[in-house]
Symmetry: C2
DNA sequence: ACTTTATATTAGCATATGCTTATATAATAA
DNA sequence: TTATTATATAAGCATATGCTAATATAAAGT
């Protein structure tokens, strides 16, 4: 049985969302890690407000999930999204963002709630 | 040796281009077939001007190539583009557009210069 | 040369986008 | 309760986008 493909207009709207430097970076970052807003702010060197607005778009589209942990709200990739597979295919063509996260870690700026 | 991945901002700009219904449809159509402008106009039910402007964006980005054949200018997918592989991966998640082309064929509206 | 046909380009406009600044909310800490 | 911290939201603005309508171009046909 074949997987149901989303309609072309739904696919286009996902691509439109990813067609922004900031959002593509965010999605790439959360593919393998949970991150909180302040980490994005640090990594992307953008204002908190701006990051928050991008996150809202991603969340509204269902591409990312949020989960509160104490002070912080952590965002993660939503593998349940109808276009999740396509997004993962796309991310394979995007340069790895983990290095930046590791740098955060070394700088002691990584937030950990576990 | 590993393939060179385009920078994230280049990838984002390709996704932005594809993040439009009309352009995603066009790219999907030319993935396997050459099409001329009037065919797009017919298939997408849009004005010639609008289609032409979308094609220009795709051509400027190098995602499609154009080739004149007599009366018509045929557009085709450019497999040399740095993000061509990614685009093909994406298109696998897009519903097949061939049916529409076959309908054109049946209606005798398909342009053929061979 | 003139006309037709296919396509491209331009200008104008309404809407969308992404940012900044300022303010609100919500959970925690004192 | 009040203050602090992390995040969200709203307003305002400059720029980008996609469309239509009108016009230009360029090859082909007569």
């Amino acid at each position: 049985m074949e997987k149901i493909k989303p309609e072309i207009k739904d696919t286009a709207s996902v691509l439109k969302l990813l067609g922004d430097n900031t959002r593509l970076s965010i999605v790439s970052l959360v593919q393998n890690h949970e991150c909180c807003v302040c980490e994005f702010v640090e990594l992307l060197d953008m204002s908190q407000s701006s990051v928050s607005q991008h996150l809202r778009k991603l969340r509204d589209a269902g591409l990312v999930k949020e989960q509160r942990k104490g002070h912080w709200i952590f965002y993660s990739f939503n593998r349940e999204h109808p276009s999740a597979e396509m997004v993962e295919d796309i991310l394979q063509h995007v340069p790895d963002q983990n290095e930046k996260l590791q740098q955060l870690e070394r700088d002691g700026l990584r937030i950990n709630c576990d």
